[in-house]
């Protein structure tokens, strides 16, 4: 929070309006150069994939290779979904981890958290404000990928007459395709919210932002390693990352919702546990 806001609240015995609180946090988050640079880099993800696909698909057979990337060639509307799915593996959680690390641990390391804890703002609202800031980063980053992905898909990759060819071989119109991109974006934000809740919980225990980054990325990498060990396959349903391939389900027809739904429920559990730890820790924290 900015120093100005703290000053005004300090001189004002009335509680701060929640809206102003959130707006202040939003300004605080979005004014950071690293946040803006991150958003810019996320815009590059679909553009780079689009260029790569177009270059690889130079012979024009509409088949840029195997996998999700391969199905982008000549089928541009796959691009936003592929870009979101690929970014979800590491890049988007990184952005959320950076935001979460800054939100509490970063403020603690700068000494600015003390002012927040002393200010006449309830701890619950304080947590809500910080979570809101992280959520905004997640939403904006995802939307940047989705919107730039749709545009790059239509302009750079093109093909399929503005329609989306699903993995099942059917074609859906632009409107429904954008709807599916929106669904994946919503689902991605849900997964990122879970990452963010855990990251904020870690953030509330430390005053070193790097610890938050290390634990979130280390956790994700550990999850990835665990899921490749056959003897531990019973563990897979409990890992947040297991459901992260469900984004490609939006490219199937008829749209199967069970993968997206179950992974969202798992994310919800992570979110609830992370939030509970975060709120408990923050409400007991000494100023």
């Amino acid at each position: 929070m900015t120093a100005a806001t703290i000053d005004t609240t300090a001189g004002d015995p009335r509680p701060v309006p929640t809206l102003r609180l959130f707006a202040a946090e939003l300004r605080w988050v979005l004014r950071r150069p690293r946040t803006l640079i991150m958003f810019g880099l996320f815009a590059l993800v679909p553009i780079l994939i689009a260029i790569g696909v177009v270059v690889a698909d130079g012979d024009g057979d509409g088949n840029g290779g195997r996998g999700l990337i391969g199905s982008i060639g000549g089928n541009g509307l796959v691009l936003p979904i592929a870009a979101m799915t690929i970014s979800l593996t590491l890049l988007l959680p990184l952005a959320v981890a950076v935001a979460s690390a800054d939100a509490i641990a970063g403020e603690a390391s700068h000494g600015t958290l003390r002012g927040l804890l002393l200010s006449p703002v309830g701890r619950l609202r304080l947590v809500g404000m910080k979570a809101f800031g992280v959520l905004v980063v997640a939403v904006v980053a995802t939307l940047v990928i989705a919107v730039v992905g749709v545009l790059a898909g239509l302009v750079v990759v093109g093909g399929a007459d503005g329609q989306l060819i699903t993995l099942s071989g059917t074609t859906v119109g632009l409107g429904e395709a954008v709807g599916r991109v929106g669904l994946v974006a919503l689902w991605t934000v849900g997964q990122l919210a879970a990452v963010g809740a855990v990251a904020l919980a870690v953030s509330s225990f430390t005053e070193h932002p790097l610890v938050v980054l290390a634990s979130v990325l280390g956790g994700l990498i550990t999850f990835g390693v665990l899921s490749t060990i056959p003897a531990l396959d019973w563990l897979a349903p409990y890992l947040l990352t297991t459901g992260w391939s469900a984004g490609a389900d939006a490219l199937r027809d008829p749209l199967p919702l069970d993968g997206l739904g179950s992974s969202s429920l798992v994310a919800l559990v992570y979110l609830v546990v992370g939030a509970a730890v975060l709120i408990t820790r923050m409400s007991r924290r000494d100023a």
């Binding site: 509409g62 088949n63 195997r66 996998g67 999700l68 391969g70 199905s71 000549g74 089928n75 093909g159 399929a160 007459d161 329609q163 060819i165 993995l167 099942s168 071989g169 059917t170 074609t171 225990f205 349903p237 409990y238 391939s245 490609a248 389900d249 199937r252 008829p254 199967p256 069970d258 179950s262 429920l265 798992v266 919800l268 559990v269 992570y270 609830v272 546990v273 509970a276 730890v277 408990t280 820790r281």
Partner: protein
């Protein structure tokens, strides 16, 4: 801070508590809905059950079929379902031989659509459409030559094939045949895909020299279609192979599901109807039906559970894989590989009075590929195979 360690201990306890909450929460979220107590159903004899399956007309339905494969087959290129693991298929079945099957993978999908007149298949990885004129009365599963949708295949293609004789008599005959080598019983009930089902169980008679312990077929109590097939091998409490619905819904299906238009940018290949069944080249296709179709006509040695199929490697294309193929028990194991993988790298070398070759052992069967080109396979120990080869 004298109480720092107690504070830390309290947080550690809180952390463990949070982890427990997370585990229980996710456990509740991901727990399969089934696994409830066995439903109460009126008793039924095996003959009546089989007869009702043969006459069943389930009507249109859709569902998800899951294949849990613990056969221990070597991984084959082009057939990821053959290796150990689980795979799923989404199935829609309409009237008049219309159907749709989707085999999703993480990053792609294979789709099979039968619109009654034409069978389409689409591979999202290569973006190729294969178009085959349908033969009469083909169900959606049939064209795949034994993919994980075997259970519905039996449901959809069963009635036309057996419609001619009296179903009750046919069931009695079939069960009479089976009783020569097996114990056939209805062993209680189960809940499969949220539906009450009878468990039809085939146990090999003690005289049968087989690796299999039993074959269980869960039959829907109301619609009388097979919902689940489990193959249990000796020495393992878990099924070596389990194929079945994880969810199924009966009712009218959207007609647009059974129409297919090749998407723009895809390659369309026309194939004549006759090559359709020969092309996948599975060595273990439908029991008793396609077994003698290959040019190198296989010899059947023995009967019942210790049936051994001895075939000769076709010169032009080897069979997809040497399947444990115990004719009528219907344990036609794993999905078949597409194409003809190089078998010479698989298995362990064996030799005997019959010659030398390579032996491939799985949980439910054994195959020996002799160096002279003969292939012997069955749901039997290797000794039975070598006896068959020595004959």
């Amino acid at each position: 801070m004298g109480n720092r360690s107690s504070v830390r201990r309290r947080w550690a306890a809180g952390g463990i508590g949070a982890a427990l909450v997370a585990t229980v929460g996710i456990g509740l979220v991901v727990a399969p809905a089934g696994a409830s107590a066995a439903p109460e159903l009126p008793p039924v004899s095996p003959e009546d059950l089989v007869s009702s399956v043969l006459t069943a007309e389930p009507g249109p339905f859709n569902g998800t079929v899951s294949l849990d494969n613990q056969l221990g087959l070597p991984a084959l290129p082009g057939a990821p379902q053959a290796a150990n693991g689980t795979s799923t298929a989404r199935i829609w079945s309409g009237d008049d031989g219309k159907g749709r099957v989707s085999l999703p993978t993480d990053q792609g999908e294979k789709t099979f659509v039968s619109d009654g007149a034409t069978r389409w298949s689409y591979d999202s990885e290569t973006r190729t459409v294969t178009k085959v004129p349908a033969k009469q009365g083909g169900g959606p599963g049939e064209k795949q030559g034994g993919r994980p949708d075997r259970a519905p295949e039996a449901g959809t293609t069963g009635p036309p094939e057996v419609a001619a004789p009296d179903p009750a008599a046919a069931a009695a005959t079939a069960i009479g045949e089976l009783r020569n080598t097996s114990t056939v019983s209805v062993d209680g009930t189960a809940e499969v895909a949220g539906r009450p089902a009878y468990q039809l169980v085939l146990d090999p008679k003690p005289t049968e020299r087989t690796l299999l312990r039993e074959v269980r077929i869960a039959v829907d109590a109301e619609k009388r279609i097979p919902l689940q097939l489990s193959v249990l091998a000796n020495g393992s409490p878990e099924p070596a192979l389990q194929v079945g619905f994880t969810d199924v819904t009966f009712g009218p299906q959207d007609a647009s599901l059974f129409a297919f238009t090749p998407p723009p940018g895809s390659t369309v290949r026309d194939e004549p109807a006759t090559t359709d069944r020969a092309k996948p080249g599975p060595a273990g296709p439908k029991p008793g039906q396609d077994a003698g179709r290959d040019a190198a006509r296989p010899t059947i040695v023995g009967d019942g559970w210790d049936t051994v199929v001895v075939a000769r490697t076709p010169a032009q294309a080897k069979p997809g894989e040497p399947k444990p193929d115990s004719a009528e028990q219907g344990d036609q194991g794993a999905p078949e590989g597409a194409g003809a993988p190089d078998l010479s790298a698989l298995g362990t070398p064996v030799s005997g009075p019959w010659g030398a070759g390579r032996q491939i052992s799985t949980a439910v069967g054994t195959a020996i590929i002799a160096d002279d080109g003969r292939i012997a396979a069955g749901a039997v120990p290797a000794q039975v195979l070598t006896e068959a080869l020595a004959r």
